[in-house]
Amino acid sequence: MGEPPIRPGAVIDGFVIGECVHRGGMALLWNVTHPDIATPLLMKVPRVSEGEDPAAIVSFEMEQMILPRLSGPHVPACFGIGDFARQPYVVIERITGDTLYRRLNELPLGYAEAAAIIGQIAVALADLHRQNVIHHDIKPSSIMFRPTGEAVLIDFGLSHHNQLPDLLQEEFRLPYGTAPYMAPERLLGRRDDPRSDLFSLGVLAYFFTTGVRPFGETETLRGMRRRLWRDPYPPRKLRPDYPPWLQDLVLRCLEIEPVWRHPTAAQLAFDLGHPDQVKLTARAEKLERDPFSTVLRRRFNRGLTLEAPKSDVAAQLASSPIVAIAIDLDEASEELGQALRVSAERILATLPSARLACLNVLKLNRIALDRTLDEQGHNKHIDRLVRLRHWATPLKLGEDRLSVHVLEAVDPASAILEFATASQVDHILIGARQHSLTRNLLGSVSAKVAADATCSVTVVRPPRRTQGSG
């Protein structure tokens, strides 16, 4: 009997095998090093001996296909793939620390801490979805954190890439995943909706903030199917001091119909970052589960639910942007304000899932001491919030699609850009005046924003005037 190829001291394709650090159900993890790579490395090797679950092989093949295509701080970097013909393996970056699983004995967490954690995971999911991948196994043991704070998603064996073959598509009768976290549409065979990840995140959020799993720990298909019609206990019933805005967000993630959840992970992250702006719906008020009649109706009228057309991840994301619009509330900018409103209207009309963040910058002086009260003694900040809302009123947006923010900063352009980055903004609308001496001397805010933004920027100008002669 020969020695197993993967053992401490062996060298495979230049990777020197160290000690085995984890024996999982479907794979083994080994510490490895490579002379040309400084990053700490981990080699993942599938268990493929006789009698092993064939799903383990297909799941490993998915990781081999998807991991090399992913980039960014929210996924482990991939450094090599080994062929099934010789020795299957995947070499990835070793992330220091433990997964979120470690925190299970501390549950429930404080609301602020939990919201921050969920927010970081939502940002990671937004990045993953932008790369055309749906994770499909979001749970505490799939999430780690870098020392710099970003969430890192690991274990892509059940993932779906929108532009690559889905090897798990027809593979097995049971939907593969972790039962307590599985979205209802997965039970109906759908693997192409990124909002399934939001459901799983909702389960995690519920669990981390109440200490209770919303759908129990059932592992049977019959048990899992209950979530197609039976809603969980509202968190406020379990913890009377549960913030209504957080309950609204968590229950929105757990909506049975994907179309009622947040359109994108980025929008969930936005809401978590701006709790005071979360629209409170009936979800926030719930103290009891839905009445039995509702549950019965859901269960036996399932056939009436229109089968949604196959959703396209990219199209989904493109139709649900977060749009930030920077408004100058100066009296002289009435015309520009109107032009901005027109531009916003056009965008929002064509994209029903888009949401608008209205920004105004309260410019602080570097030298003089700023007074929060103006000459009349009114609070400047609140005054501007009110005027922003007034500006937005003609747009007739529902509260769930509109938020207003006053940023106090010395440099308006930087403040706008920082907001855009922190809030996952997809598109900035900003006005630019035609003539301004100040602008020519100091450089316009819109030019700076347009130059340095990482997302699209539309510069809006007031309508042209015919130039007088002479």
Binding site: I57, M65, L164, D166, Q169
Partner: protein, 222 residues
């Protein structure tokens, strides 16, 4: 643009276009320079009239036969039905019964083709619509519509059927010419679409008195 070392043509050089002489001459030149070329059902119909072709296709074949020289007709008739190279199999329609000219429309059809060969990857066309099928070691099928310019890794341990679209008459609602590039070292296949002067091709078809549908369909990718 792409530095390719080998060209493989999966058949049907004549039968729908208005310049068959040029096409066959070009194929003959490419083969002389090392390209692989297969016989398609329309190429076969030049020498052996088919009874199952639709009326427009038959009319076009009749016209084409009159335009080709004896040497060109002989070239088409002598083309192979399949070519096997290392772990790759090339065939016009599908591998289980190449001379039956069966369409691979779905995973069930693909299974027959895949079961008939031990090649790691098979390439076929005939249906004029790009698609990919994969069969795991446990005989479970995956079907997939590829996205242009996104490389797909053909993992070993399973078999692959790469269905090419059409260069001259795409039928997946995209009029741009469809082809693919395969990197044999990395085992990656990447599909490409290249728009061409569809109107000029359509004009030629009309000018030569060929069935109008053969011209009109080019613009809508049908």
């Amino acid at each position: 643009m792409q530095r390719c070392e080998r060209i493989v043509l999966l058949g049907d050089y004549v039968g729908y276009g208005a310049d068959p002489e040029w096409t066959v001459d070009t194929v003959m030149d490419l083969v002389e320079q090392g390209a692989l070329a297969l016989r398609g059902n329309h190429d076969q119909a030049i020498g052996t009239p088919s009874e199952t072709m639709n009326a427009e296709a038959q009319a076009a074949i009749e016209w084409t036969r009159g335009r080709l020289s004896a040497a060109q007709r002989r070239f088409l008739a002598d083309l192979p039905m399949t070519i096997r190279e290392e772990d790759r199999l090339y065939v016009h329609a599908e591998a289980s019964q190449p001379s039956r000219w069966r369409y691979v429309r779905n995973a069930n059809d693909a299974v027959h083709s895949l079961m008939a060969t031990d090649a790691h990857v098979s390439f076929c066309g005939h249906i004029h619509q790009p698609a990919m099928y994969s069969m795991s070691a446990a005989a479970k099928m995956t079907s997939f519509i590829p996205t242009a310019r996104v490389p797909v890794q053909l993992l070993s341990g399973r078999q692959w059927l790469v269905v090419l679209g059409s260069v001259g008459q795409p039928r997946d609602h995209d009029p741009a010419a469809s082809f693919a590039i395969y990197d044999t070292k990395r085992k990656e296949v990447t599909y490409h679409r290249v728009p061409y002067d569809v109107e000029a091709a359509a004009q030629e078809i009309r000018a030569n008195g060929l069935p109008l549908w053969l011209a009109d369909r080019l613009r809508i990718g049908r």
